[in-house]
Amino acid sequence: MALRHWALYFRYAVGNISSNRLIHAISTGTITISLLLFGAFVLFFVNINDWVLEWGQTLTMSVYLKDDIDQQEKQGIETTLGRITGAEISSFVSKEKALLDLKETLGPQGRFLEGLNENPLPASFEVVFKNISWGSLNPKKIKEDLEKLNGVDEVQYSEQWLERFEGFVYLLRLVGLIIGGLLCIAVLFIITNTIRLTIYSRRDEIEIYKLVGATDWFVKAPFLIEGAIQGIVGALAALGILFLMYSLLSLKTIHIFGLPLMRVVFLPEGHTVFILSLGLVLGLMGSFIAIGRFFRFFYD
C-alpha cells in the first residue's frame, strides 16, 4: 500500500482523535489505568524478585576441613569449589581465626575458651552463591559431593531455608504469570469495549464512508492507528504515573519487622519497553477486535 495512503489514514486518525477528544480521553484514560495496574503489579513483582534474589545471594555454605588436611587436599577442595556454577569462596577461615571469631562473638562469656589446651574448631571455606539460577541448583548434591572429597569433614548449609526459598521463588513466578496473564486479558477486554464504544458513536460516519465507496480497510485503518496511538499514549502515561509513585516511595526506606529492606528499584529497561509494546499491541488488538465486531453487526 502506498505511503500516501498511510499518511492519509494517519491524518484521519489524528483528525478523529482531535474532533472526538472526550471519548478518546476516556478511552486512553482506561488504557492508562489498566496498564498502571499491570505496571504496578510488574513493579511489585520485580522488587520482590530482586529482594528475594538478594537475600538468596547472602546464602552461604560452610565447608569444614579435617585437622590433618594437607596442602594438596586443600588446593583440591578449592579447585572443586571454583568449578561449581555460581559458587564463590568468600573467605578461608583458619582454625585460629575461627576461635578468635567465636571469642569475639561470645564477648565476656568467651573467657572459658582460654582454658582450652587444644583448639577444637575446624578450619573452613566460606562459600557464597552468586547469580544462581535457583532451578538448576542442587545444594544437597553439592553437599554430598563435597563431603566425599579428602580433607572435608562436613558441609553445612541452611537446607530447609533454601528449599523454602526455592519454593517461594517458583510460587512467586507462577502467581506472577497467572496474575499477569489475567490482567492482560482484563486490559484487552476493557480496551476492546472502550474502543467499541468509540466506533459505535461514529457509526453514522462509517455509514457515510461506505456510501461513498470506502473499502472496509479504508474505514478500519484509521481506527487501528487510533487504537495504536491510544495504546502508546496510555502506556506512556501509565509509566509516567508509575515512575512518580516509585519516586515518592523510594524516598523512604521500607521497614519490615523493624529491619530496613533493600532499595526499591524501578522497572528495568526491558520491562518498560515491554509495557510500551503491550500498550501498542493491546491498543491495536482492541481496535482490531472492536472494528471486526462492528463490521459483523454493520453487515447484518
Binding site: 502506498a2 455509514e207 456510501l211 461513498v212 470506502a214 473499502t215
Partner: protein
Amino acid sequence: MALKDINLRIRRGDFVFVTGPSGAGKTTLLRLMFGAEQPTEGQILVDGINLNRIGRLKLDLLRRRIGFVFQDFKLLNRKTVFQNVALASQVIGERSAITKKKTHQILRAVGLSTKEQAYPLQVSGGEQQRVAIARAMINNPLILFADEPTGNLDPEITREIMVLFRTINLRGTTVVIATHSRDLLENTDQRVVVLNQGMIIQ
C-alpha cells in the same frame, strides 16, 4: 414484501423520477439499485454487473461510480464543506493535489466556493444539499441516485437543486430521483415511474 414483479430498465443518460405515495417502495427500489439491500428474488444489473453476485469489495468499487444524495444530506458535521466533498475523492485513492483541485472545481460548480471552510451546520439546508450533490458528483459517477433530495427544502431552493440535477444529467450522468412531491413532476418532460404498494403502475 416492499416490492414485487418489478421490471425496470433505465438507459445510460436517462433522467428518471420514481414516485408514489409514502410506503410505495421508492426508497427500497433505490437501495436495491445501490446494493444496500439484496432482493429475495430476481436480479439487478448495474452497468452489466449483477448485484446479487457481487462481493463486498467489488460493491465498494462499484459505489465509487454511483453517487447517492439523501433527504437528510448525510454530511459529516465535524468536517468542513471542503473535507466532506474531498472525502469521496480520497476514498478512491486519488492523489492529494488532484483531490484538492477536483473539490475546488465541483464546489465552484454548485456555487459553494465561498463556503469551503464552513461546517455543514453553519450553512443553510439548500447549501447542505448542494454539498451532498458535490460529494456525489466529484468522481463523475455513471449514475446519481437521489432519495427525496428536496424533501426538506423550500420551493425556490428546490428549483435551484433541480437545475443542478438537470445540468449533471446533461453532462452524461444517469439521474434517478425518488420523490413523492407532485410539484417536482408538474410540467416535466422526463420519464416518471409510478410505484404503488410495491408495484410499478405506470
